[in-house]
Each structure stands twice: as C-alpha cells, then as structure tokens.
Assembly symmetry: C2
Homo-oligomer: 349 residues x 2
C-alpha cells in the first residue's frame, strides 16, 4: 500500500474519504458532513458545547506522539469537558490545518484515532473544516453534548467533601518519561502488554531503569487519556471540573467560582505505584507531580457529606483559604500556579 501526500490527494478527495468513514446517518443527525452546516434534531435537554485546540509544538510533539494517539487525545480532552459538566457527549466537529506535504498515511491514522475515541464515547462526526497550514499542525474539536442536570464549577458548599475519580500526576510523569524515551511508543487499544515491544524502545527503557509494565500506564495516560464518565456522580455532586491543568490549579478554579476555600489531606492524594516508582527513577517528587502535573483528565468534584460516593475522598470544602494538611497534621496555605499559555515554560510538554 502506497501513501501519497495531501498535495497529491487534494481537499475534495480527502473530504470524500472522511464522508465515507464518518458519514453514516444517525438518529439525531438530520444532515451531516457535506453541506454548509450540520443539522441536528431538536433536543429537549440542555445543550452543552465546548472546544479545545491542540497545536503542534505547544500541546504535542510528533517525535513521541503517533497520529493515532493524537486523534484519540483530541477527542478525549474535549469529551472530558462535556463530562465535567455532568453531560453526555453526542456530536463532534473537527478543524484540521496541516502542511501540504503531510503524508496521507498520517491523516488516515489520525482519523483512525479520532474514530476509536468517537466510538468509545458514542459520538459521531457531523462537521468540520480542512485547511493547509504553512508550518505547524493546528487541530481543534468542538464537542456537543446534553444534560438533564448540568454541574458547574460554582456549586460547592462549605462542608462538602472533595473527590477525585483516580490517581493524578500519571500523565505529567508519562510526559517526562516520553521526553527521555524521545520516540513514538506504540500502545495497544486497551491498556495492557504489547505483544512485541520494539527493541529500540526496550533498550531506552532499560537505560532509564524502568520496565514496560511501569512505563506503559504512565505513557498511556499522557498519549491516550480517557475521559471519565460522571454518570454515577451526577445526582450527588454539587460542583465538578476536570483536571486538565493540575489538581491544585483546577481545585482553586472550582473554589474561586464557588466562593469557598478547600482543605486537602496529603495522605489522601491518590498516587499510582507506577508513578511513584517512575518519579523516583526520574528524580521527581511524586506528590508534586500529583498536585501540579496537568492533563490527567480525572474528574474533581464535591458532594455533601453522608452521600455514598464511589470516588476518592481527598479533602473538604471550607469557608476560605486553600490549605494542605501534611502527613504530620501540619496545615500549610498553598497557592496554585498551573499551566498558562503565553507565559514561561510550557508545562504540558
């Protein structure tokens, strides 16, 4: 099978391929890809909308990201925002600007990643735009979702408990690992062992002093994050946000919107054994990664005490101030500075 460059394939042929791959009619789509706009059936639920960009050299590095992983992540990070509102994702629009000499194989694999993620989240593609880009690849997705009851950041009440849906810091640790590995890492669709690990990758892992079993879940959390479905928490949660910029900064945002403070218990912050092991090997602090590392896409939410919540309890909403209680019971005020575009070093890379 030979692959041509986009400059040889052309926009119209590429659009035809996309239509063929994604153009199936669905129950909620009256008019999909290929007209001036897509048309969805009226909904009697609240309509949720979100959009997120991924820019080459800012959000991703093709030295260690495969096109499949890129497509998967683009959908996941946007779905995560719909989930963080307590909603269900339904439809996707894509904007893709790539260089003319991009291979059509790259685009095919990218769309396979898009499709893998869309299937996983039960969403369908309804529109988008393709463009040439003079240099860096620029991607964005717009996600449409729905909710009967939506959750804002602003609903936390003093006395509520703070929960997180999984371990944090894994993605940031995975990124540090990837920078050391500095090559693309093949990942199976579902987490687990690969049948064959490329020998160059194996060699690099040996040099770093980590096994594939430790590295794989961390690298996966960075390259192919899965958004957490909030379904079981929606009824009880009072506020919700997804952890994209780091636990502390995202908690600070939630508290700012709610007009509250928070008290976190260091010993309750969930750390994965793989992350603790890899962080030590890389000379990094597991706790710092868990508190400040971004792109975990776990949900952070609050619920009144007394509710039976199937998530990890990490702290309490208090009247004011952001307080961390260490393992010896000492309290310390913390301030969160997370990832900010346009300033200083880019933490996401």
């Amino acid at each position: 099978m030979t692959y041509r460059k986009l400059s040889q394939v052309g926009e119209i042929a590429l659009l035809e391929k996309i239509k063929k791959r994604f153009g199936k009619k669905s129950r909620t789509v009256l008019c999909g890809i290929g007209d001036d706009a897509s048309v969805l059936k009226p909904f009697n639920k609240c309509l949720l909308l979100t959009t997120d960009m991924m820019v080459e050299g800012v959000h991703f590095d093709l030295a260690f990201t495969t096109p499949f992983q890129l497509g998967f992540k683009l959908v996941s990070v946007n779905v995560s925002d719909i989930y963080a509102m307590g909603g269900r994702p339904s439809h996707v629009l894509l904007n893709i600007a790539v260089q003319k000499d991009t291979g059509s194989e790259f685009v095919d694999l990218f769309f396979q990643g898009i499709q893998e993620a869309m299937d996983r989240y039960h969403t369908s593609l309804v529109g988008g735009d393709l463009s040439a880009s003079p240099k860096d690849m620029s991607l964005s997705a717009t996600l449409v979702g729905h909710a009967d009851r939506y959750l804002q950041r602003s609903g936390a009440k003093v006395g509520d408990r703070i929960y997180v849906t999984g371990t944090t810091g894994d993605s940031a640790c995975g990124l540090q690992l990837l920078k050391k590995i500095n090559r693309q890492v093949p990942l199976s669709r579902k987490s687990g062992r690969l049948n064959s690990i490329p020998s160059a990758l194996r060699t690099r892992l040996v040099r770093i002093g980590l096994s594939w079993d430790v590295a794989e879940p961390l690298v996966r959390r960075h390259l192919m994050p899965e958004a957490r479905n909030p379904g079981q928490f929606v009824r009880d949660a009072t506020s919700m946000i997804d952890i994209s910029d780091g636990l502390l900064i995202d908690l600070t945002r939630l508290c700012k919107e709610s007009g509250t403070g928070a008290k976190l218990y260091e010993e309750k912050i969930p750390l994965s054994p793989e992350m603790e092991k890899a962080a030590r090997q890389l000379g990094l602090s597991p706790l710092s990664l868990a508190l400040a590392g971004g792109e975990d896409y776990e949900l952070l939410f609050t619920a009144p005490p007394g509710k039976k919540v199937n998530a990890i309890y990490i702290g309490d909403i208090i009247k004011s101030k952001m307080v961390m209680v260490d393992r010896k019971g000492r309290e310390k005020i913390f301030s969160a500075r997370g990832y900010q575009h346009f300033q200083g070093r880019n933490k996401r890379q």
Copy 2:
C-alpha cells in the same frame, strides 16, 4: 495607552478580559464563558452547527488585513454557512492560537472586530480556547444556529430557477487590489467614504489608477464580507449554498448534491460597476472573476418558477450538464475548478 505583549499579559488575564467583554448572560445561555463547557437552553428547533478556520499565510495576510477586519471576517464567514442552511445564527465559540509576542493591542482590536460582527448578527460568545502558537496565527469559529425549516444543497429540482443575492467577483477583485496596495486599508464600520484616507494609501491608488470610491467597496467585500440573511427566501427556496469558493464551483456542488445540471446565462451574471472598472484597470476579466472568484459570501439558491423572488435570476436547473449561454446565445459546457486546499496556488490570497 501602552499595550503589552501576550507573554506579559498571560492567559488568565486575557480570559478575564474576554469574560468581561463577552460574558453577559443572555436569555438562551444558562452557563457561558468560564466553565468546562457552555450550557444553552433546550431548543425546539433544528440545531445547526458549522465551523471554519482561518490560518495565517493561507486565508489571510497581515500585511493588508487589520486585526479588526480579521475578527469581523472570522464571524461573518461562519454566519454565512448558517444562513446558507436557511438558519439563524445564535451562539459563537472561538479558537485562537497566536504567538506569545503578539501585542495585546492586536488582540483587543481583533476582539472588537469579533464583537462588531457578533452584534450585527445578533449572536453571543459562549466559549472557546486560547493557545500559544509557535509561528502562524490559527483561528477558528464554531457557529450554532437554529431553523424551523432548513435548506440543503440537495433540494434543487429540474425547472427551478437559479438566483444569487448580489454581485460576485468583487471579493476576488478586492484581493487583487489589496495585493497591489500591499498595506492595511482602514475601513469605516459601515460602507462609505472614510473621513481621511492615509496619504500613502492615496498615493498607491493613484498609481494603480483607481479612486477610493471604486476601490473601497471591493476591498471591503474581501476584508469585511457581510453574510446575507436568507430570511425572505427560506419559504420559497428549494436548495441553497453560500458562495465561498466561487459561483461555478459552488453551483456545481449544489447541482451534484441535487443530481441535476444547470444552465447559466452570461448576460444575467451580476457585475458591480466598481468591479468591472477595477478589473479592466488590473487587466483581469470581470466575467472570470464573477464566475471563479471566491469569498463573495452571497447566497446561491434555487426556487420554483412562478415564485416572486427578490434576488437576481441567473439561470435554470436542467436535467444534467453544466451549461453556460453566452451573450450570442451559444451554449458551452463548463467545468468548475475552484479553490482546493493542499493543491497548487492558493486562490484566496
């Protein structure tokens, strides 16, 4: 007033400015800018969604586009797609990736242009994403709209008349003019004379041999196109598309989707006197510009004969083939090759 660079302003401060400018609650917005996703009230109409990108060096050249014009156009071209479905635009999401050292004045003026357009089309901003960009500016907007009855490209019937809402070729001619002028052209909000034309601009126009009165409407059509509201045509139209890539290619698309051909009458194609004058001065064919020039954002639609339609009748839907009838009554088959990304020369610049 001194302006700082985005790297000094930072993302959070910029977001606060955007929230302040656009964050007004509206009747249909339950939760706007500043949460994980925006929340709109349920609608009992069909929901329309469209998204379009504008990439620096592909869709625009900052040598002759002001940030205000850029913002205005980004909204207009997307609104045009909602209008082309017979819909009403309502809400906007923006994605903006710019270099860190972009001046905050640029961003302010850009948002003024966004606001000017959003006000004109009665839409409100409900979300978006900001990112640094390593090099070229990459912009996109997603437009949400609604319709009781929507119009697809596929509804044209043999015997229907073909209409266009205004003159075409003006934007392409304006672009050619701008390339000769090769500097930013200040435009008043509404079309008409400027109180003061910069002397350097005046000098260049004299050199080209055109007056401001001739140049202004053409340049305006390229830099600040206005989308055409289809309101008065929706009831009678059978199919509709907006002219973004050129009259012939967009008509060909409409006919392909409808499974029909078309017969166009050369003498009926509307040309503006300014375009005819400027084209002659630039050594270009007015008819070619009108047929193949892109970015006019006029609506092209079909309606059954016998309907009283307040637009320009330019041809008829026939069974098959795309035919042009010249001024002498001779028929010629035409094929349309419009703007395609990834291939050859970029016609939009």
